[in-house]
């Protein structure tokens, strides 16, 4: 039905137009007022935006804004002061969150740096260790009738009952059972098992290890064994009471040879230093305690001493 025609006139087919009423319904008037109010406000906002945007800092609106801001400023300062404790509290809580994440970040950074420092320290120690080995090889204390096989330590004792290490050199490299093993510091032990590429070394601190040794200063003989009860302390056993052994004396391998028989260890390899000497009336021998030169807990590389005649 076309606008402006009543249902009745449409039904009758009349062309008479209905006269529109000029009175608005309350609903229409409300909607009109509403739209008018919002339209005015929006228009006012747009005018403000346009004027503010066009005139910049020097236009008349800038002066109005400046004056308004000046008027409101004391109130803003008042609000600011009232709000300051709440702002401080918020800042404190916020800083706690920030501090936590910052601390976590710094902790991760420290972990990374510590790892790097450790790696550098390890590299430095390894470098120094290998240098000392080289100096030892070229030095006068290295046994002349032996040749060294340098090998990296690839396995360590798993517990207190296995005083042994595994090295990355085996029969393929010329290593055999009973070959002595040293470092630049002194005697480490002896090869007890050999595979093609690896070898097991029984350390001097093992319960079953025994090395004939002597006091370098007085030539007092004895047998170096593991001291019971302690992990890395040795004793010089079987030292007669009449022999003189003093604290601080150096103990070295004896390296004896009787006919075709000889000691497993070359003569003169340092073992340790006498830490204490004691004796009782009932004992047949002195009780000599030795501090080994070798730090058995931090072996990185060792030298297996192979008789030169075998290598030829």
């Amino acid at each position: 039905m076309p606008r402006g025609r009543s249902a009745r006139s449409a039904a009758l087919g009349l062309t008479v137009r209905r006269i529109p009423t000029t009175q608005l319904s309350p609903r229409s008037a409300g909607a009109l007022r509403r739209r008018l109010a919002v339209g005015i406000l929006v228009l006012l906002s747009l005018v403000l935006i346009s004027l503010s945007f066009r005139s910049g800092d020097s236009g008349p609106l800038a002066g109005v804004q400046s004056a308004g801001s000046t008027v409101l400023r004391p109130l803003a300062v008042g609000f600011e002061r009232v709000a300051q404790p709440f702002r401080d509290a918020y800042g404190w809580v916020d800083s706690l969150f920030g501090a936590r994440s910052e601390a976590e970040r710094l902790r991760a950074e420290v972990r990374k740096q510590r790892q790097r420092a450790n790696q550098s320290e390890f590299a430095l120690q390894e470098n120094e260790y290998l240098r000392r080995l080289l100096r030892y090889l070229d030095g006068p204390r290295f046994p002349g009738d032996f040749e060294p096989i340098a090998a990296e330590v690839i396995g360590r004792p798993a517990g207190a009952f296995a005083q042994a290490i595994v090295i990355a050199a085996g029969s393929r490299n010329g290593v055999r059972v009973n070959d002595p093993v040293v470092t630049a510091d002194g005697l480490v032990g002896v090869v007890t098992r050999v595979t093609e590429g690896t070898a097991r070394i029984q350390l001097l601190t093992d319960q079953e290890a025994a090395v004939s040794a002597l006091d370098l200063r007085t030539s007092a003989p004895g047998i170096v064994r593991h001291a019971r009860g302690t992990r890395e302390t040795l004793v010089l056993d079987r030292v007669p009471k009449q022999d003189v052994v003093r604290r601080g004396d150096e103990i070295v391998t004896a390296g004896w040879r009787v006919g075709s028989l000889s000691s497993l260890y070359p003569k003169g390899i340092p073992i340790g230093e006498v830490a204490s000497v004691g004796q009782t009336d009932t004992d047949l021998f002195q009780q000599v305690q030795i501090d080994p030169y070798v730090d058995f807990g931090s072996l990185d590389a060792v030298l297996v001493l192979v008789p030169a005649e075998r290598r030829r």
Binding site: L41, V42, S45, L51, S69, L75, F79
Partner: protein, 174 residues
């Protein structure tokens, strides 16, 4: 709306605008800050209707623009429309709904956020849409929703008057 109620509403909007400009806008949580003034204006629109909502939005926005020395009229325009939308929602589909404040605050926060970005873009301001619409708007939406019910209750208590429902002029159309 009685003069007393209007005066209380005016004071409330003014205080909210001052608080918004002075402190609330600096309470950044998760990249966004709550908009207390917007929530107050929406509540006023819901309680008092579209025209008072628009008027209070315009006034509150003007105070913020004056205080922050921003381009005069921008916040006014945004809050005028926010108050009007909230009022229209209350006058039509949102009438009598308990969750109307939450729905209105949620929807209008997003709409005003988008509108403000468009407006600033049209005025030639450098606007990073991703920051404005994601980084800042999402936390602001959450914070505004958290504020919605308590602020609505506060506004209702402040502008409460014993007269009949101001939205009575609206006819129910079936």
């Amino acid at each position: 709306m009685s003069p007393g109620s209007a005066a209380r509403a005016l004071a409330l909007v003014f205080a909210a605008a001052m608080l918004q400009a002075v402190i609330v806008s600096s309470l950044v949580l998760g990249g966004g800050a709550p908009d207390l003034l917007l929530v107050v204006v929406i509540s006023l629109g819901l309680i008092r209707g579209s025209v008072p909502g628009a008027i209070f939005g315009f006034g509150g926005g003007l105070v913020v623009d004056l205080l922050t020395l921003d381009t005069l009229g921008i916040t006014s325009l945004v809050l005028t429309l926010a108050g009007f939308w909230a009022g229209r929602y209350a006058e039509t589909t949102g009438r009598g709904r308990r969750l109307a404040p939450l729905v209105a605050v949620g929807a209008i926060t997003v709409l005003t956020g988008v509108f403000a970005v468009v407006l600033h873009y049209m005025l030639g301001d450098d606007v990073v849409a991703r920051h404005a619409l994601v980084t800042a708007l999402v936390p602001a939406l959450v914070l505004n929703l958290l504020l919605a019910l308590p602020v609505h209750a506060l506004v209702r208590a402040t502008v409460h008057e014993s007269e009949a429902d101001p939205l009575r002029e609206v006819e129910v159309v079936v």
